[in-house]
């Protein structure tokens, strides 16, 4: 804001110096800037260079009189509103006054001048000028502030537009990256699917290959065993004892190999064949398996316990294999017991049938439990307990094929319990 206490200009126009002096004396108290002009022409010259709060204009001047001067002043656009106070000695002429007003006089002072009136009137215009000037300055300040604001807004807008453009660019970049990522992801999934298919196919091929190898090995193993038996039968009398002993070893080993291959083939067959299921009475099945096993070891003292078993939807042949293998293991590993105890039952756990085979046999250390269900994994020496190490792997595979799982609990010499489920879909 511009300070408002600057002095206003007052223009005194009179051809007579004494009158100018008189008026100057009267308004000097206002402490403003007083400019004197001796003619209308000189007044106009001053008006070119300076702003005035008010003009005190003498009507009666030689040459260009007050009215003519006022007329010329008013023609100037910038001066059309400048206050003009006519000063006239001719007091009695009405027309004089009205002409003055028509030329834009705002006031009229008649001579002889009353100093208080002149001073008061001029003071009003000075005050008006100052206030107008202040308003103008404030308006200018406002205009400046406004334009500064507009400039800033414009700058900010430009900045925002720039940021926006860069953001848009970034968004586009992101979208492109995302698109690329999606593409890559799709490709990756394709590759994974492809690889998985390849692996599955390779796995199937490998298993087919293993199956045919195992299958082709069976005949020679069987034949070696066959010839060894023929040798034992037909030539034992003429063979030295040591040769007979070796021959017996050959017969045993080849028979063992044949069994291993047979078990391995069973394992492959389970994997290869689709699972057909029917409602099977596991109780009746277990009864039949137990009778067969009992007949195999008539010399053994075995206490068999068969709890109530449900009817279950499963593959009968495979389920029979599971029961046979688990019960056969129980018979085998209770051999050192004078009285073996073998129990087969079923418990309801979390709305699922959990089957178990429990025995009081030699058991095993839980540290070895991970090896239990592996192919050709054996926890005992063949001299202690015979077997190919495939039986439990076969159980695990069959149970898995039914959507169930198998596990075991035991400790050395404390018997063992094998559990299995047949999956939710396997229960009726």
């Amino acid at each position: 804001m511009t300070p408002i206490d600057t002095k206003a200009n007052i223009l005194l126009v009179d051809d007579r110096e004494d009158k100018r002096l008189a008026m100057e004396t009267v308004i000097a108290d206002l402490d403003q800037n007083i400019v004197q002009a001796a003619s209308g022409r000189e007044a106009l010259r001053h008006l070119l260079h300076q702003n005035f709060a008010v003009i005190l204009l003498d009507v009666n001047m030689p040459g260009m009189d007050g009215f003519e001067t006022a007329h010329l002043i008013r023609q100037r656009k910038s001066l059309e509103n400048i206050p003009i106070i006519f000063v006239s000695a001719i007091s009695d002429t009405e027309t004089h006054v009205s002409r003055g007003y028509s030329l834009g006089a705002v006031d009229y002072i008649l001579a002889p001048i009353v100093p208080e009136i002149l001073r008061a009137k001029v003071a009003v215009f000075v005050e008006l000028f100052k206030i107008t000037d202040q308003v103008k300055r404030q308006a200018e300040d406002l205009r400046l502030a406004h334009s500064e604001l507009e400039k800033r807004v414009e700058e900010r807008t430009r900045e925002l537009a720039r940021v926006n453009r860069s953001l848009q660019k970034e968004v586009k970049e992101r979208q492109r990256a995302e698109h690329e990522l999606r593409n890559l992801n799709g490709k990756l999934e394709e590759i994974v699917a492809e690889r998985t298919a390849e692996l599955l196919s390779a796995n199937r091929e490998l298993e087919t290959f293993s199956y045919s190898i195992a299958h082709d090995l069976r005949a020679p193993f069987r034949q070696i065993h066959g010839y060894a038996e023929i040798l034992q039968e037909d030539f034992s009398e003429i063979l030295p004892d040591e040769a007979t002993k070796y021959l017996s070893r050959i017969a045993d080993k080849s028979r063992e190999m044949e069994r291993m291959v047979d078990d391995l083939l069973r394992l492959f067959v389970v994997a290869k064949q689709p699972l057909t299921a029917a409602d099977e009475d596991l109780g009746a099945m277990a009864q039949s398996v137990m009778s067969a096993l009992r007949a195999e070891v008539p010399e053994r003292q075995i206490e068999w316990t068969l709890r109530t078993l449900p009817v279950v939807r499963c593959n009968g042949a495979l389920m029979r294999q599971v029961l046979e293998n688990l019960l056969n293991n129980a018979v085998k590993y209770t051999r050192p017991r004078t009285l073996a105890q073998i129990e087969l039952g079923c418990e309801r756990q979390d709305s699922q049938d959990v089957f178990y085979v429990r025995d009081n046999g030699v058991g095993f250390s839980m540290e070895q439990v991970d090896r239990l269900f592996g192919v050709f994994q054996r926890l005992h020496r063949p001299e202690e307990f015979e077997g190919t190490g495939v039986g439990l792997a076969l159980v695990a595979r069959i149970v898995a094929k039914h959507g169930g799982r198998v596990w075991a609990r035991s400790s050395v010499d404390q018997g063992a319990t094998f559990y299995f489920t047949l999956g939710k879909s396997g229960n009726t």
């Binding site: 299958h215 005949a219 069987r222 034949q223 065993h225 066959g226 038996e229 023929i230 028979r255 047979d262």
Partner: protein
């Protein structure tokens, strides 16, 4: 029948397996080997009496055919199909195979085989098989 014994046609491409079967059947005492052939085509020729098998005195009609499944040229199933196509009823056909697959058993029986035995080198099992074969053939 050959000298009151059941005449057997052995069909197997393995000399060794034929050897074990022949020995088991001879030891059993109620069987005589009429002929041994080593594939399905030879079996069909024998039964048809064509080519080298035209002489029925030298190549007597068998009471029992022991038939392997996996053989070159024509396999066991081909022979079963041929026998059925010829409406041959006066002979018992038993498959003797090394195959493990349940579907081989099922298919054999569906195609007209009277029995199915797995090849074994265990003497006891061989003798049991011979007894069962005797029962089958004697049953008419």
């Amino acid at each position: 029948m050959i000298h009151d014994k059941y005449a057997v046609l052995l069909v197997d491409d393995s000399d060794d397996d034929r050897h074990f079967v022949r020995r088991a059947l001879e030891r059993h005492g109620r069987f005589a080997i009429a002929a041994e052939v080593s594939d399905g085509q030879e079996a069909i020729d024998y039964l048809a009496g064509t080519g080298p098998y035209a002489d029925r005195t030298a190549c007597p009609w068998p009471d029992l055919i022991l038939l392997d499944l996996k053989m070159p040229r024509k396999n066991g199933f081909d022979v079963l199909a041929w026998i059925r196509s010829q409406h041959i009823a006066d002979v018992k056909v038993v498959v003797l195979s090394g195959s493990f697959l349940e579907q081989d058993v099922t298919q054999s029986l569906e195609m007209g085989a009277h029995g199915y035995h797995k090849k074994t080198s265990v003497r006891q099992e061989q003798l049991e098989m011979a007894s069962q074969l005797e029962q089958l053939v004697a049953g008419g």
